[in-house]
Amino acid sequence: MAVPAENTPAAPASAPPAIAFEGVTIRFATPSGEIHTVMSEVDLAVEEGTFVALVGPSGCGKSTLLNAAAGLLFPPAGTVRVFGETLTGINPHAAYLFQQDALLPWRTVLDNVCLGLTFRKVPKARAAAEARRWLKRVGLAAFEDRFPHQLSGGMRKRVAIAQAWIVNPRLLLMDEPFGALDVQTRQIMENELLELWQETRKTVLFITHDLEEAIALADRVVVLSTGPARIKGDYAIDLKRPRDVAEIRLDPAFNALYKRIWADLRDEVLKQEEGAHGA
């Protein structure tokens, strides 16, 4: 792709954003019948080709926002637009990387990677060839006949990445995808993700509660406040690319950004803690 290595969005300014939340409000009825507002009036636009990280205290409704972008959940107020079009069902442009294991446990690695193509009725042989290419890409060529439970957590994540990427989505939604991995594996996976992203420059909406991860990966970090969630801060991360997540943490610019954003985030985490103890 003819995208410069720096931090410029791939799409011209006139193109509609890859994803736009407009006045999105989400409420749930609790079992006791109370109405719990998870987020109110959230406005957020993500330009095509950018890597945006959403951070916020746990339980602030980050996942809810992502599910609204996926079309898995419909906000009672406000609209979600995908490339300019109002979302009315499952988002056809998006792939989703879940924190939990989301592979079909009864399918082999190869069949799992094929899944999106199978659902789109791509001929079997072509789907398998494409899947093998992706398995090779994520370093799991030798494991195509295994079942998910026979793989380690990191390997299962790689399969999930191949499964999401194979359908060539324009938008990638990631809900703390590496949250369940150990620190070392996590760093390896973050680097692999960045490498893949560098090649394709797909729009990414990445959720994490780990601010370091957010800064290391993203072009832009959006801080959500604790419930009901609103946008508290929006920071451009102008660190050089390509990055190595371990090295970038030693960059003085990284530390400066971390301090600035953490000041914002800390208040929310504290508020959330107080709320939890008060309840």
């Binding site: 792939a95 989301a102 009864w106 079942f147």
Partner: protein
């Protein structure tokens, strides 16, 4: 690979314990039949009511060698397998439908409860009136037993689908039909299989009880004939033969289950 060692260790341990279990199983059998045989020989147990293991074994051998039992066994097995097959298909279809369509589940819930609570043997007379003394009535009785076991398990299995796996498939653009085939059904498979072990027994219960009440062929008929002349040896021989057949079918189901559910982690 770090994983390759542990399974080898587990396998050896499993093997050792399997021999022990087998030895104890045989020991238990010898103990029970030995006591029975001794009791019947010494007169502690009245052979008129309890027969003798040696007599029963002799009778079974006689039946098998003379070819007398085969037609009866084939009739009973045909009835049981037909009931089993029809019960599985209808049970799975009904389970999938009711688990997916909230309204259907709500409407049929009370009727299913009532019908399931009903002792099915009570239906045998009416089924014989409807379907006659032949195989039809036995199959129908077996179906009423098998259906509910399979139905409840399928229903539960579909309800227990991991929502993350389901959402992932939806994000990959699975249609409703594809979700059913690739997600709901395989997810319910473990539940369905556990219901098959119970329902193969029920299918045979349906066949044998139906034959016992009214038939001219089948193991149930043989047992009922033997009972009519106070031939306890014949009754026991029929019972034991039926049990052996059930055990064989159950082992076959287990082998199929092991193959189809090979994706599950061994615990």
């Amino acid at each position: 690979m770090a994983r390759e060692r542990p399974p080898a260790v587990v396998a050896t341990r499993k093997r050792a314990s399997r021999w022990l279990v087998l030895a104890l199983q045989v020991g238990f059998f010898v103990l029970v039949t030995g006591t029975w045989q001794a009791g019947a020989t010494t007169g502690w147990l009245d052979p008129f009511f309890f027969s003798k293991p040696s007599d029963i074994a002799g009778r079974m051998a006689e039946w098998i060698l003379s070819g007398y039992i085969w037609p009866h066994l084939i009739v009973t097995l045909t009835e049981a397998m037909a009931a089993f097959a029809i019960g599985i298909v209808t049970g799975v279809l009904a389970g999938l439908a009711l688990a997916r369509v909230e309204l259907l589940a709500a409407v049929f819930d009370p009727y299913i409860r009532i019908f399931n609570a009903l002792p099915r043997v009570i239906l045998a007379p009416i089924l014989i009136i409807w379907f006659g003394l032949g195989m039809g009535s036995k199959i129908a009785l077996g179906v009423t037993l098998v259906f509910f076991v399979v139905f409840f398990n399928t229903f539960q299995g579909v309800r227990e689908v991991d929502p993350v796996v389901l959402n992932n498939a939806r994000m990959l653009q699975a249609s409703d039909h594809q979700l059913m085939r690739h997600v709901y059904l395989p997810s319910a498979m473990a539940w369905i299989f556990s219901s098959l072990h119970t329902s193969i027994g029920f299918a045979l219960v349906g066949a044998v009880v139906g034959e016992y009440i009214g038939a001219s062929q089948g193991i149930g008929y043989v047992v009922s004939q033997a009972q009519g002349v106070f031939d306890t040896t014949g009754v026991f021989a029929g019972l034991i033969l039926t049990s052996i057949v059930v055990l064989c079918i159950d082992l076959a189901i287990e082998a199929l289950e092991r193959y189809l559910l090979r994706w599950r982690p061994q615990s």
